[in-house]
């Protein structure tokens, strides 16, 4: 988008898509942070706010989709602009999914907050921190068109996987010793899985940023981690 276009209308269309995409990103980031707080601080009110925000994110997804299709149909963008529109179309899907995962987390939070806390949350906030900073870093990389930053997000995915496995083992230990905690342990296990998926979606966004800037496809270049 650095190149001068003959049509300023075209430029402003691209800028509008970019603005909406970042706005959606900002909402999703807030959802990630609020959903995690609702668990750690045992605040069900925050969880309800997250559920309410999802509708807004879904609306933005449709709006961005429509703007992109409109631009493709009317202007037939090429090269970098085409890659940008492709990125937007794919990124909204990832962002919307992150929003959905946050809603899932929030729903589990409401369940968990009704019962006594199973264990001090230590790994969960760490995973949430990793997921939130991955989403933030991916969006920052998009803002700055920074390939190196985007590649760093792609590489940083692994610690989140390790924390997930570690937490699963710990939860199995809890469930084996006391069947009464199975329900809560399962809820925590799900949350851990949701957080892992959020990190995976952030990686997808980062990969798209590399593709948009350099036109190089870096997907599936590393051992695939199935969500």
């Amino acid at each position: 988008m650095n190149k001068e276009h003959v049509s300023s209308q075209f430029d402003s269309n691209l800028a509008a898509i970019r603005l909406k995409l970042l706005e959606m990103g900002g909402k999703v980031e807030l959802m990630v942070s609020k959903s995690m707080k609702s668990i750690v601080e045992r605040d069900s009110e925050l969880a309800e706010q997250v559920v309410a925000m999802d509708a807004e994110v879904n609306r933005l997804e449709m709006e961005i989709d429509e703007k992109c299709l409109h631009l493709l149909a009317l202007r037939q963008p090429a090269a970098r602009d085409l890659r940008f529109v492709t990125l937007a179309l794919k990124t909204v899907v990832d962002l919307e999914r992150i929003g959905d995962e946050c809603v899932n987390i929030a729903k589990r939070a409401v369940e968990l907050n009704r019962e006594p806390q199973l264990k001090p949350y230590i790994d969960l906030p760490r995973m949430a921190e990793a997921a939130a900073s991955a989403v933030q870093a991916a969006l920052d990389a998009f803002v700055r068109q920074d390939v190196q930053a985007a590649l760093a997000v792609c590489r940083a995915d692994t610690p989140s996987d390790e924390l997930h496995d570690q937490l699963q083992r710990e939860l199995i230990g809890f469930m084996v010793t006391d069947p009464a905690v199975v329900q809560r342990a399962l809820a925590i296990s799900c949350i851990s899985k949701f957080l892992k998926r959020i990190a995976d979606h952030a990686t997808n966004i980062a990969e798209m940023v590399v593709f948009m800037v350099d036109g190089v496809n870096v997907r599936h270049a590393r051992p695939a981690s199935q969500p």
């Binding site: 603005l19 970042l22 706005e23 990103g25 900002g26 909402k27 980031e29 807030l30 942070s33 933030q136 969006l139 803002v143």
Partner: protein, 460 residues
């Protein structure tokens, strides 16, 4: 100007040519006369024009330099009165413009300095959401290092509330104050004052002032916690006293042995209540500065010996050895003797409380450049490292059940901290699992730093 000169000159030349014609007609003929005249006309026109326009060109060149920004350029004196007039006007104009520019520059510098010095973050953006001005405080709040001006607000922060407010201000054109919870780069509570910039009915931008109120919110939370803590601490002994009083009324008075036991329990809890209220009062007086401090030169050793005598029974009952030898020859400190005694009572009492029988408590003093460090070291149960940073907070207890059993109010160390700080000192604590050491640093009474006993009296 030029045409006038040429006109006069032509008339002169033509008259000259006519005279020339009259005399030399016979010599060269009419054609020759005319040719000569024409050549004279051409040459003289050129020469005269050169002489007439040279000052004008200089004026034009200088004016152009002024126009290009060399505002301090002035025109030299010119002899031609008309050109001189022009030069004077241009010079005046240049001087006025220069003064105006200086004034604007000074104003800009002043504004820059104000913006730089402000604790509040300031951001100005145009209606398209492009940032036109920020100050360093804004960059600090949002964790920005790069150039911000010219970038879009959404590139700076994606916080949804920020953009919703921005759009609202643009459409409503109303000032607004609201709170914003930042979660990145770190958790912060900001009070944001939004002002639309309206010129001739058109919104030309939005100004936002960000005031960091995280500390205020934190204090409010602490105050709430404090009230909750106080109520809880007061309620516990009251509930017990009330319970036993009811039992006595319900008939326990008839059984003298039981009644005595109950009254004893009631007495000990009333005692605890009294010490809690008195500690609270002390703390609030210390905080409000209502307690006048009479600082004078005080011998730490004398005070410590007095405190040991006060607590002697407790020390003996517990079977703990108190060693004051490290205070021998310690320099005098500037302190209120009564208050210093209170500090040492609290520290020694704590040390004795948390040291098992057979253990020891050692008091020592070290003379350092920053002041005299009084150390109270015990061989007790120690303090877990996670509790160390909060140990001086009000009602903070490492093991609340145990602390209450020992008759503590949870305010002792907080009072110590306040007293020491009021006297210009500092407190700190170290613990490694084998006992704890509390350090109190106070100002030396003698102004000169001797350092002679430093090595001998060092703790550890």
């Amino acid at each position: 100007m030029r045409s006038k000169v040429v006109g006069i000159q032509s008339v002169v030349v033509l008259a000259f040519a006519a005279v020339l014609c009259g005399y030399e007609q016979r010599l060269f003929g009419v054609g020759g006369a005319l040719l000569l005249t024409a050549s004279i006309v051409v040459c003289s026109t050129y020469l005269l024009a050169q002489v007439g326009t040279r000052p004008l060109r200089a004026v034009a060149a200088m004016a152009s330099r002024i126009g290009k920004g060399e505002i301090s350029t002035r025109l030299p004196a010119v002899t031609d009165p008309q050109v001189a007039e022009l030069a004077r006007v241009i010079n005046e104009m240049a001087a006025k413009t220069e003064a105006q520019l200086d004034r604007l520059e000074a104003e800009k510098n002043r504004l820059d300095a104000i913006l730089r010095g402000m604790g509040e973050g300031i951001m100005v953006a145009d209606p398209q959401g492009s940032i036109t001005l920020v100050n360093p405080a804004f960059k600090g709040l949002f964790g920005l290092q790069d150039e911000v001006e010219g970038r879009l607000l959404i590139d700076i922060s994606r916080h949804p509330a920020l953009h919703e407010s921005f759009r609202d201000i643009l459409s409503s054109r109303q000032e607004r104050v609201e709170e914003l919870q930042l979660h990145s780069p770190k958790e912060r509570s900001l009070l944001v004052h939004w002002v639309p910039l309206v010129e001739c009915g058109v919104v030309t931008g939005v100004v936002a002032v960000f005031h960091d109120i995280s500390d205020i919110r934190q204090m409010e939370k602490m105050r709430r916690d404090f009230v909750a803590n106080v109520s809880h601490e007061l309620r516990t002994p009251i509930t017990i006293i009330k319970g036993y009083a009811e039992t006595l009324l319900a008939g326990a008075l008839e059984h003298p042995t039981q009644a005595t036991k109950f009254v004893n329990i009631m007495y000990s809890h009333a005692d605890r209540l009294a010490s809690l209220v008195s500690d609270l009062l002390t703390l609030s007086q210390l905080e409000s500065g209502a307690i006048p401090l009479e600082t004078r030169s005080v011998k730490v050793q004398e005070i410590a010996e007095h405190v040991v005598a006060l607590l002697e029974r407790k020390i003996r009952e517990r079977g703990i050895k108190v060693d004051l030898s490290g205070l021998k020859g310690a320099p005098c400190v500037m302190a209120d003797p009564g208050r210093l005694e209170q500090v040492i009572v609290n520290l020694l009492d704590n040390a004795v409380k948390y040291t098992p029988a057979g253990g020891s408590v050692t008091l020592s003093a070290t003379d350092r450049e920053e002041g005299v460090i009084i150390a109270v070291q015990d061989t007790g149960i120690g303090i877990p490292s996670k509790d160390l940073p909060r140990i001086f907070e009000r009602f903070y207890r490492v093991d609340s059940a145990r602390s209450r059993d020992e008759g503590g109010t949870g305010l002792g160390l907080s009072i110590v901290k306040h007293i020491v700080q009021l006297q210009g000192g500092t407190v700190s604590v170290q613990s490694n699992g084998q006992g704890s050491t509390f350090f109190v640093t106070l100002n030396r009474a003698e102004s000169t730093y001797s350092g002679t006993i430093a090595a001998a009296a060092a703790p550890h």
